[in-house]
Amino acid sequence: MKKRVISFILTFLFMGILWITLSGKFEPLLLFLGLVSVIIVTLMSGNLLFSNPSNDYTITFFRFLGYLPWIIIQIIKANIHVLKIVFSPNMMEKIDPHIIVFTTRLKKDFSIVTMANSITLTPGTITVTANPDGKFRVHAIDRPCAEDLPGEMEERVAKVFGE
């Protein structure tokens, strides 16, 4: 019961901030309409967004924020790598597309999804399939891109989600 109340309050605050950001006006009528919509949405799907609020959840969120700068740097580095391949005159020699298969120790759904999206976001690699038991098939565009996997990314994702 207590958890439900907390998740209601969190959803309410989240939706309210989203409304204010998207509307950007502070006229009483608009604020009132926003309040009504936010309350309706919260009543309908209050336990959807923050389904199981606990202290773990907050810690995970902040650790995820710590993960973001690293992945952004990786994305920029890998983008420049693919850009070099695309612009080089002898592109056909440089690329070597192949599919690699590897198993990670990730078990939680959320960490597997994060891992899969991180792999796809770092250029040169696209996740083909990701199983719930942590098995990944990845299409890589050349050898150096594939060598980095799973490696450091798995470590960091595992750390974020406490596995």
Binding site: T21, G24, I76
Partner: protein, 111 residues
Amino acid sequence: MHILINSIVIGLLFIGLIFFTGGTLGILRMPDFYTRLHPAGKLDTMGLMSFVFAFCIYNLEHLTWDSLIVSLKMLLIVFFVSLSSPTATHAIVDAGIRAGLKPWTKKNKEG
């Protein structure tokens, strides 16, 4: 200050342009379906990111509540694109593999 902001904005727009050009060129030059998705799905996201950051900084030059809100909305665009673009790319690749399209490799050039 004005010149500084303008030069940062122009620099970011230029970088974004390079990434978009690379993405388009990659789609044209790559040998097959799967390899084409690499530049299409990601260099474009990167170009869009640096474009939107440039717009944000340009917009924040006259710092008011309205311009702050507009910049926040632009950052939301970046967030949603960087969430949906890899998912869409993954869905397309998955569909291709399921339909039985063989990836191009150096040994098997028919692919």
